[in-house]
């Protein structure tokens, strides 16, 4: 194997190597249509009430003397954007998500969340990622995206290739199939040539880590190849990759891989735990939201025609206290607001069960209640996206009655 392989030969080898990886790791030649799903996990519990503002609630303004965002004012540009008579979009999301909302490509589900009452980040994140019935003994080797992937690939020849855009493989993808992972925050050049890849892979033949080793080495090369092509395209179209950064750049790269190859994706963003100096229309939360909104808008744009086949869900482990705390921040709460985005969803509306938000309505006199269970909401989306049978939906989310939000 001294001579350099042609790309065709390499593809053949790579496919052969990846055959041992399990169904999670198909890298090539996925047909370009069919549903795509990306889950964006905001770790830290984002303050939903300052992203989707319950502006018809007098108590909102009473409970947040320094944090409340002013009611939408049509006479004033750049403030909160009224979505209906109760809810408004934070100014930080106005340009990015506001535009998509007007095209009916975004829906919000307030009062969404889990039954978990620990108010612990880690506990609740784990609950969500595992997606198992509340109160049951947890199986830490079974995340719900891994189950979705397994269900889709086991039952038919769906090319539901899965990938996590993270440095480590999150719980949500722990399962029977080995899922690939790669962070797209930075994309270094792959250091090994074909011969070295072969030797390293052989060294793990028969070892429990063989799928991870083989899959990881192949993926690194494929990503580098794909990102080279992306940079080339951006250069050609005078879109300078250097002017975009952070999640926006990452989202563009994610879109590239999901457009070409992957059907089920996951990415997480940290930094939402705003106990102190959260800010209101401007400030720490607002700048996080700006980056998130721009990234999602860019993702939608970069997918091109495939955006019509794509659904994105943005969620977080819990909402925050409805009242601000003593430090111009908010503490761990309960219910939150989920976002659903997609090129052909029935959006431009606030979906799911709702209620008013005065003081008497708060859960334990402090938080948003949960009226829309996360498992029911996601089961509903997956069922519609992939036409799952009730038995299949049950595999992904056991003991759940899917909601009927008709978003897809």
């Amino acid at each position: 194997m001294s001579k350099l392989l042609t790309r065709r030969e390499w593809l053949r080898l790579a496919t052969a190597a990846v055959a041992g990886v399990g169904a999670g790791g198909r890298l090539y030649a996925a047909p370009s249509s069919g549903p795509r799903f990306l889950l964006v996990f905001l770790r830290g519990g984002y303050d939903a009430a300052n992203a989707l503002i319950p502006y018809s609630s007098a108590f909102y303004y009473e409970a947040r003397p320094t944090l409340a965002i002013a009611r939408p004012d049509p006479g004033q540009s750049g403030g909160a954007l009224a979505l209906d008579r109760d809810w408004a979009l934070a100014p930080a999301l106005r340009d990015s998500i506001g535009g998509l909302y007007q095209q009916r490509q975004v829906a919000f589900i307030p009062f969404a969340g889990t039954q978990d009452l620990t108010r612990s980040h880690f506990e609740t994140q784990d609950s969500i990622e595992l997606g198992q019935p509340a109160g049951a003994v947890r199986d830490y080797r079974s995340g719900f995206l891994a189950r979705l992937h397994h269900t889709l690939t086991a039952s038919r020849s769906t090319d539901a290739t899965a990938i996590s855009f993270t440095d480590a493989l999150p719980l949500i993808f722990q399962g029977r199939d080995q899922t690939l992972n790669v962070s797209l925050k930075n994309v270094p050049k792959p250091p090994f040539d074909d011969r070295q890849v072969q030797i390293l892979t052989n060294m793990y033949a028969g070892h429990p880590l063989e799928p991870a080793v083989a899959g990881g080495l192949e993926l690194r090369r494929e990503v580098a190849h794909s990102m080279d092509a992306l940079s080339e395209e951006m250069r050609a179209s005078s879109r300078d990759a250097l002017t975009i950064k952070g999640f926006e750049l990452e989202a563009e790269r994610i879109a590239r891989l999901m457009r070409d190859t992957y059907r089920i994706g996951f990415v997480d963003i940290g930094g939402w735990d705003t106990h102190v100096n959260e800010g209101a229309a401007q400030g720490a939360l607002a700048s996080n939201l700006t980056g998130l909104g721009r990234g999602l808008a860019r993702f939608a744009q970069a997918l091109g025609p495939e955006w019509r086949n794509t659904v994105v869900v943005v969620l977080s482990e819990f909402g925050r206290t409805f009242r601000e705390n003593g430090n111009r921040g908010t503490d761990h709460g309960h219910g939150t607001v989920y976002w659903v985005l997609g090129g052909s969803i029935d959006g431009g509306r606030i979906a799911g069960a709702q209620q008013s938000l005065e003081r008497r309505d708060l859960f334990q006199d402090r938080d948003y209640p949960v009226l829309n269970d996360y498992r029911a909401v996601l089961a509903d989306l997956f069922r519609s996206m992939w036409s799952l049978t009730p038995a299949q939906a049950e595999e992904v989310f056991p003991r759940v009655q899917p909601s009927n939000l008709k978003l897809v």
């Binding site: 480590a168 493989l169 992972n181 030797i199 430090n327």
Partner: protein
């Protein structure tokens, strides 16, 4: 061809041949080292020693051989933080020598920020901000450098492991507040002295440290302005574990007990006479009765009398006494040393020791390291990135002093386990599955290549200066033949035999399953 060029060419070919003669596919590594090696260390002892340290070194193997397991362990438990070879001790002194005054440090920072804000010229302001920021980064890096040097070179390996473990257990994130200026002191004064001591002292030392008070916001927690962040994590992450039998009610009660525990870098407040006796001040740590909630409280069913800071001491003692605390700490320690899902028998034995000794960490660790379960797990513990990088460097340079720790910190960063880099207070996961994904394995092999190929800049002057020498990693050393080579799997031998150069041989060895498990 000009004559000099031809000469150079001949020389190059000669060099290449020379390299090949010792690095040819089957003659590299040097068989001379094999001849010189002593009798191999039994496999079970290799695994034990590997796990109870940051990887083998000639020094640790010799000491283990001469003392035997139990006496070696006792010596490790007694060993002081100052068990450093002189060149490293000098480097450590250079960083930690000036006595640290947290109040002075925070005062200076406040004053400098004020001065910066007062600057009228935007360019000058920006420049001053950047300068201060650079100083913060430098200060934080010194903490990381100190930690890495101690981990690689200290003969008190068990203590260094425990310092790492508790820094992770009481994790703080350098980029919050003023933490970059505080973390050296946090490690040296809050964690290190108690790493093998009593758990309660460790809690109180972290509770009073300005780094923790800023990181988990208790500095902001005051009567009428409750912030429950630290109170929650103190139970969930530091003492009881999430299923440790406390409720949201307990979190709120503990938050009220902790009101007034904060930071003051300036003059003490003027207090009513009846409060003056309750005021506590140590460095920048302050208990301010004027900020404390003196109403009655109940924690885990126990009444807490209104006594100011004594309430905190009482609450910590109560938490540490819980069976749940003994179990939770034992489980975490066992996971770090035995791997995912440690046997419940082991956790039970450790919990008994923990409770019997009132939370003596050394005693609990002794139960663990001399247990049957610890021995039985030999060779099955997957190294987290920190253990992986440290053990590779310890083997590759076996006692030779590196000068530049930047590459190590970069590698840990790339592998997702940067020191003081965990944003969330839960610390890095101790379970192997978290570190074994496809993305991480390929990243790890890249690090193996960086270390193995010998141009990793470990011998550069610190902070990007000129190289003070080079150091090609000598992985096929005597240590290798005594403790690693005898136990290599067939696949690994096959890979090593295909190496075309010493660099590649090193890379394959460092990428092998044998170097990734202990």
């Amino acid at each position: 061809m000009p004559e000099r060029l031809a000469q150079a060419r001949t020389l190059l070919i000669g060099l290449a041949l020379l390299l090949c003669s010792c690095a040819g596919s089957n003659t590299y590594p040097d068989p001379g080292e094999k001849m010189a090696a002593n009798q191999a260390l039994p496999r079970a002892d290799v695994a034990w020693l590997e796990r109870a340290s940051f990887g083998l070194s000639s020094e640790s193997v010799a000491r283990y051989k001469s003392l035997g397991r139990e006496r070696y362990l006792d010596e490790q438990i007694e060993a002081s933080s100052e068990s450093l070879p002189e060149p490293i001790a000098a480097q450590v002194r250079a960083v930690s020598a000036p006595p640290f005054d947290s109040a002075q440090t925070l005062r200076t920072l406040t004053e400098r920020r004020k001065a910066i804000d007062a600057l009228a010229d935007p360019a000058a302001k920006e420049q001053a901000r950047k300068a201060l920021n650079d100083e913060g980064n430098h200060a934080a890096y010194q903490a990381i450098r100190l930690q890495l040097l101690r981990e690689i070179y200290s003969t008190a390996q068990l203590r260094e492991q425990m310092v790492w473990f508790w820094l992770n257990h009481f994790s703080v994130y350098q980029y919050k507040g003023d933490l970059r200026w505080l973390i050296t002191d946090y490690e040296e004064q809050a964690i290190r002295p108690h790493a093998l001591g009593h758990f309660r002292d460790l809690i109180l030392a972290t509770l009073e440290h300005p780094a923790m008070l800023q990181y988990l916001d208790n500095a902001q927690n005051a009567v009428g302005h409750i912030n429950e962040n630290y109170a929650r994590e103190l139970m969930e992450l530091h003492t009881l574990g999430v299923d440790g039998g406390y409720s949201q009610q307990d979190v709120q009660q503990l938050a009220r007990i902790l009101t007034g525990v904060g930071i003051n870098a300036f003059a003490p407040p003027h207090l009513k006479p009846e409060w003056q006796g309750l005021y506590v001040r140590r460095g920048a740590f302050e208990f301010n009765p004027a900020r404390h909630d003196f109403a009655p409280k109940v924690l885990l069913g126990h009444a807490i009398d209104a006594r100011g800071f004594e309430e905190v001491v009482q609450a910590v003692a109560l938490l540490v006494r819980q069976k749940a605390c003994a179990r939770y700490i034992s489980r975490e320690l066992a996971t770090y040393y035995v791997g995912d899902a440690p046997p419940s028998r082991l956790i039970e034995a450790m919990s008994v020791t923990f409770q019997k000794t009132d939370g003596d960490i050394a005693a609990t660790l002794r139960t663990l390291l001399l247990s049957r379960e610890f021995g039985a797990a030999s060779g099955t513990l997957f190294k987290d990135p920190n253990r992986y990088v440290l053990s590779a460097v310890r083997l590759a340079y076996d006692g030779r002093t590196i000068t530049n720790t930047r590459p190590l910190s970069d590698w840990l960063n790339a592998l997702g386990e940067a020191p003081f880099g965990r944003q969330t207070p839960d610390g890095y996961p101790l379970t192997a599955t978290y570190w074994q994904s496809p993305g991480q394995m390929s990243r790890r092999f890249e690090i193996a290549r960086a270390i193995g190929s010998g141009n990793a800049h470990l011998f550069d002057a610190e902070d990007g200066g000129v190289s003070s020498g080079t150091g090609f990693p000598q992985l096929s050393n005597r240590l290798y033949y005594e403790a690693i080579e005898p136990y290599l799997a067939t696949n690994t031998r096959a890979a090593l035999n295909q190496a075309n150069s010493p660099q590649e041989w090193n890379t394959f060895l460092l990428a092998s399953p044998e170097m990734n498990y202990e």
